[in-house]
């Protein structure tokens, strides 16, 4: 597990039913590409977040496959629409098998 991995997500607190809401997500992660070499010239092994998903009450909003060309601290911004109040679940999958999760509730009026 990489150090200091911290997911950060911005979701509006409330929305109207069916309205498009913007979700911004960022997770602090080095996204080591596997292309770099250390001072001795040995390749640094790849360790990235290879998949990111956002679900709302079990229904998929976005399922993204990430590759080493995604920057350090991968940032993803997208839009969702929600039919009713509920909880977003965000999941990041690390190359080493770690899974980072966070949730965010939204009230629909």
């Amino acid at each position: 597990m990489a150090d200091n991995v911290k997911p950060r997500v911005r979701v509006p607190k409330s929305a109207k039913a069916g309205e498009a809401i913007v979700i911004k997500t960022l997770i602090s992660h080095p996204m080591e590409s596997g292309q770099r070499k250390d001072k001795q010239g040995n390749p640094i092994p790849r360790q990235i977040i290879n998949r990111f998903t956002c679900e709302f009450e079990g229904e998929m909003v976005l399922d993204a496959t990430l590759e080493p060309a995604v920057s350090t601290n991968p940032y993803v911004e997208f839009e969702a629409k929600v039919p009713a109040s509920g909880t977003f679940k965000f999941t990041w999958y690390d190359d080493d098998g770690s899974v980072y999760e966070t949730t965010e509730a939204i009230t629909v009026s």
């Binding site: 070499k37 679900e55 229904e59 399922d63 060309a69 993803v76 911004e77 997208f78 839009e79």
Partner: protein, 139 residues
């Protein structure tokens, strides 16, 4: 060093091969990634918007937005990176729009390609050239 005519020709041919080889290998990798995504289907134009900066000062974080109304998935490719794949967005039923923004690494000045798979199974693509001042793949 004495160069015979034959030697010079052979040298020239060898030089051309070494220069051309990476270029063809590069396109092979892009074509391969495309074929894997499209399954060999023809890729059209239009219906997809890719926005990238014209000049990126730092290749380590280049903001990229892509939008393709009616798409089920969008794949981003960077032609000039050591491996061309960047990311693939698969949109679920609750996505309000088939658009996403992220930040990517570019090794140098190159074309960034976005390919969208539409709900009817067709494919469209858009490509933008991005000039990169400092490459972003370490050294």
């Amino acid at each position: 060093m004495n160069l015979t005519r034959r030697g010079a020709l052979a040298l020239g041919a060898g030089f051309a091969a070494t220069v051309l080889l990476p270029a063809t290998a590069l396109h092979a990798a892009v074509d391969e990634a495309l074929a894997k995504f499209t399954g060999g289907a023809a890729v059209g134009e239009g219906g997809i918007t890719l926005s990238t900066p014209e000049i990126a000062e730092n290749g380590n974080t280049v903001p990229v937005s892509v939008s393709a109304p009616g798409a089920v998935a969008i794949m981003l490719l960077a032609e000039g990176n050591p491996s061309p794949g960047v990311c693939t967005f698969n949109f679920g039923p609750l996505a309000a729009s088939q658009s996403a923004t992220t930040r990517i690494r570019l090794a140098g000045t190159q074309r960034v390609i976005a390919v969208a798979k539409m709900a009817d199974g067709s494919f469209v693509q858009a490509a933008n050239e991005v000039k990169v001042t400092i490459g972003g793949c370490g050294g």
